[in-house]
Each structure stands twice: as structure tokens, then as C-alpha cells.
């Protein structure tokens, strides 16, 4: 629960690299029209051990605009983070000197460092027995906090670093933890977000766990189908989402455009199973977030679901939402178009929520052709609905029994 004298936290800049677009406007067009970012991955065609052949991919990109001095310690995951972050910084209009003043922190996460680089070096080690082309910057591309560390250099960040590397809750925890730090007055602002690069190992990991979709390899756009009866698992995706978080008075003083306010953050652990979702844990995180914001369930106008289209995860989430919100609050999974961008999804989906708030719409879960009865009893919009969204909730869950729930609202 917020205490007297606590600062308020607003979002004043957004930056995206997502399978459905590199700007909020482009992503909103896709979310309204139902344009999918899931496609066949040509490099995976010959991998016989890998059943899924599809992923949510970010359009081809030349990252050369990132100065070499920063790029040398980045794998693709950090490059995506850097690209999204530069967009967020420009969008915010924030003074770069302020970013490096010591008043601003960095909160960023991903499931892992660059898998492409890890496989390159470990593969060589296994085959040849030496460290090959491993050099003084290789580890910096692979280490778990590669995104936060690299961004801290790019923007000469001198405030605190929060490396929220908790797989699929990385992005939302980064935003949540940074917001708490601003509330407590430890920092005045933060670059916050999450990123992920696509690698066949991610897809193969879920494939081994019977959690990846491959039944729709020939219809990639139909493969990610949260809550649908015929869903057969998640489609991995890549991307990055960055928001600039700022203390409200600071933002007002410089006349910044404000997208929304971070009103609530709840995060907890199930403490029961390393991978199996827990409806109780999910619900508890949502309750923590509501309590943090001083709100009740009926105040929430839209829920962006984590719903990755795994058989068990979607059911557990629907159950948690049903028991807390009933069937009145619209809920949808934008992963139906992006796939599951893992460490990036919490931040990307926060930006989608801000876009829906701005455009006063709620988008449906695409590919939800026939509702799984076990995912019923909650309100699934069938098409784009026009709605005033004063308060929205963004939920994300991760391996390790990690749950996260953010509440974003219009500034009052």
C-alpha cells in the first residue's frame, strides 16, 4: 500500500521493437486489423529435431546506427534493447544530461544474454576444445544483465541498476521495481523495459516441454491462439520494449507528454512448482497490485493477459481472473499476434496497453475461434471495442512460479 509522501510515477516515453511494428502507431494498426507478426523461420527448416518452424520476428534491421563502442559488447538481444530505448528516449524529449545526472536509473531484463553468441562460443568449445573467437567483449554479450549493462553505458547512467532477469516477467518486473524506486525517491527517473532475441533453443526448450506450437506451422498467423480450444502451445517471439519512467512533478515541470501513470505493482512467487502455473499465485499477484494502487477489481477496465496459448497456463490464468473479476472486465492476449516475446513481453504489452488507453479501444484475442470452456467465465471481446480505459492491468507470469501484475492509469 502506498504511503503518505510517496512520489507518483508516470510514463513519458515509449520505444518498441516488436514483431508487429517498431512504433506504437504501427503496432496499434496491427492490433486493430489483426495483422500477425508470426512467420516461418527459414533457418529452422532443416533442423529435424525442432518441430516448431515459426516465430514472432522483428523486421530486418541494421543496428549500425548504434555506435560501435556500444555495439561491440551487444548481442542481438541488447541491440534490440538499445534500438527500442533510443526510440523511447527520443520520444520522451528528456534531456540526455538529466539521464546521466545520477538521478536516473536503469531497470532492464531478458531471459538470458545473447543465445546466438553463447551457442557460437560454446559450440566451438565443444567441437574444437578451445575458446575460438571468444574475446574480451564476448562475455559482455552473453551475461545475464547484458541489456541493463549496455544501456547504462549508452546513456551514461549513474543511478541504480535493476537487472530484472526473470524470464517472462523480466520486462514487467523492471517497470515495477523501477517504479517502486522512484516512488520511494531513490531515483527521479528510469529507463525500464525488457528484451529477447529469437533462437531455436528457446523454441526447442518449449518443444521438449510439450509447450510449443507446431500444428499450425503451415499457417503461422493462426498458430498463436490463446484461450482457443485448438491451441497447441506458444510461439516464441523476439523484441524489446522500453518506457521512460519519471517522477510526476519532474515530468510536469518540463512539460513532458504523459502516456499514463504506474499506479500499482504486485509481484510474488508461487513457491510450489518450477514450471506449473498456479492460479492462486496469479490471483495473489493481481490482488497485491490492486491493493498497491488502492483499487478494487471493478475499477479495472481492461486486462492484458499473459496467456501464451499453453494448455495449462491459459486455464490457470482464466481461473484466477474469473475468481477475482468475474465476467465483466474485457481481457485479451496480444500474444495472439506477436507470439510470446519472453523477457520483452511485459514491457511490450505495457506499451500496447498505453496505446489502447490513448486510442480508447480494447482489442480482442485473435485466433480465438472456439473458446476452450475451461477458459470461459471471463469476458473475451470478439472484436475491437471502443472503450474509455481509465485503468488497465497488465499481467505476466514466468518459470520459477513468478507472477507480476502492473496497473496503469490515466493521470488524474
Amino acid at each position: 500500500m502506498k504511503q503518505e509522501g510517496m512520489k507518483r510515477v508516470v510514463i513519458t516515453g515509449v520505444g518498441l521493437e516488436s514483431p508487429i511494428g517498431g512504433t506504437m502507431d504501427e503496432a496499434m494498426q496491427a492490433l486493430v486489423s489483426g495483422r500477425s507478426g508470426v512467420a516461418r523461420v527459414p533457418e529452422w527448416e532443416h533442423l529435424e529435431f525442432l518441430r516448431p518452424k515459426i516465430a514472432g520476428l522483428v523486421a530486418e534491421h541494421d543496428f549500425k546506427s548504434i555506435p560501435r563502442k556500444y555495439r561491440r559488447s551487444m548481442g542481438r538481444v541488447a541491440e534490440l534493447a538499445a534500438s527500442a530505448t533510443e526510440k523511447a528516449v527520443v520520444d520522451s524529449g528528456a534531456d540526455r544530461e538529466w539521464l546521466s545526472s545520477g538521478d536516473v536509473g536503469i531497470a532492464y531484463g531478458s531471459t538470458m544474454g545473447s543465445l546466438e553468441m553463447l551457442v557460437k562460443y560454446i559450440g566451438h568449445l565443444g567441437r574444437v576444445g578451445d575458446m575460438g573467437e571468444y574475446n574480451a567483449t564476448s562475455f559482455l554479450q552473453i551475461m545475464s544483465h547484458t541489456c541493463a549493462a549496455n544501456l547504462a553505458q549508452m546513456y551514461s547512467i549513474r543511478g541504480r541498476m535493476i537487472a530484472a532477469c526473470s524470464a517472462c516477467t523480466s520486462g514487467s518486473q523492471a517497470i515495477g521495481f523501477a517504479s517502486e524506486a522512484i516512488r520511494w525517491g531513490r531515483i527521479l527517473g528510469a529507463i525500464a523495459g525488457g528484451a529477447e532475441e529469437v533462437h531455436f533453443i528457446s523454441s526447442g526448450t518449449f518443444d521438449i516441454m510439450h509447450g510449443a506450437s507446431f500444428a499450425f506451422n503451415d499457417r503461422p498467423e493462426a498458430a498463436s491462439r490463446p484461450f482457443d480450444k485448438r491451441r497447441d502451445g506458444l510461439v516464441v517471439g523476439e523484441g524489446a520494449g522500453t518506457v521512460l519512467l519519471e517522477e510526476l512533478e519532474h515530468a510536469k515541470k518540463r512539460g513532458a507528454r504523459i502516456y499514463g501513470e504506474v499506479l500499482g505493482f504486485g509481484t510474488n512467487c508461487d513457491g510450489t512448482h518450477i514450471t506449473a502455473p498456479s492460479s492462486d499465485g496469479m490471483r495473489a499477484a493481481m490482488e497485491l497490485s490492486l491493493s498497491d494502487a488502492g483499487l478494487k477489481p471493478s475499477d479495472i477496465r481492461y486486462i492484458n493477459a499473459h496467456a501464451t496459448a499453453t494448455p495449462r497456463g491459459d486455464v490457470a490464468e482464466a481461473e484466477a481472473v474469473r475468481s477475482l473479476f468475474g465476467d465483466k472486465v474485457p481481457i485479451s492476449s496480444t500474444k495472439s499476434l506477436t507470439g510470446h516475446t519472453l523477457g520483452a513481453c511485459g514491457a511490450i504489452e505495457t506499451i500496447f496497453c498505453l496505446g489502447m488507453m490513448r486510442d480508447t479501444i480494447v482489442v480482442p484475442t485473435y485466433n480465438l475461434d472456439e473458446l476452450d470452456p475451461e477458459c470461459g467465465g471471463i469476458y473475451h471481446p470478439k472484436s475491437v471495442e471502443r472503450r474509455e480505459l481509465a485503468l488497465v492491468m497488465n499481467n505476466n507470469f514466468a518459470f520459477g512460479g513468478v507472477n507480476s501484475s502492473l496497473i496503469i492509469g490515466q493521470v488524474r
Partner: protein, 87 residues
């Protein structure tokens, strides 16, 4: 390897791997000040050459290398100690 081949290899590395401006590749160029390299780049440059020449060098000695001319001499010395320098 001949001396000129070693020098050409260094220059190619600087341009291709470290994105140095070819117009700035001159013997008197200070690689740290003028080519925007730093100690981490210096280590990476020498690591590549160490692997190509199959020799390890004393990293302390790299500290005195600043100009490209000094770098040429340093790497030629590396090649010599590896028995790979042709007259």
C-alpha cells in the same frame, strides 16, 4: 609473413572489425585518440592476431603501444617470436 603483409592485415582489421576511418590509417595515428579505440579494443585486436600467429604476448607490453607505427612494430615482433616473419 612479410612485414608489409602484417601491416596490411592490421589495417584491414582496424577498418573491418573496428570500423576505423580508412583515411585516418597513417603511421603516426594515435589509435586510442584518433581511431576511437580503447583498451578493450586493443586487447581484442591483439587477441585476433595472437590466434592468427599462434603466439601469446605479454599484455603489459601493449600499454606502450599508441601509434599505428608502434602497433606495426609490436605485431611484427609477435610474428618474429612465433617464427613467422619472413625477411
Amino acid at each position: 609473413m612479410k612485414r608489409q603483409e602484417i601491416i596490411d592485415r592490421i589495417h584491414r582489421l582496424l577498418v573491418e572489425e573496428f570500423e576505423a576511418d580508412p583515411a585516418k590509417i597513417r603511421p603516426e595515428t594515435d589509435m586510442y585518440r584518433e581511431l576511437d579505440l580503447d583498451s578493450l579494443d586493443g586487447i581484442n585486436l591483439i587477441t585476433i592476431l595472437e590466434k592468427e600467429l599462434k603466439v601469446r604476448v605479454d599484455p603489459q607490453k601493449l600499454r606502450n603501444v599508441r601509434t599505428l607505427s608502434q602497433l606495426h612494430d609490436f605485431v611484427i615482433e609477435m610474428a618474429k617470436s612465433a617464427g613467422k616473419l619472413e625477411d
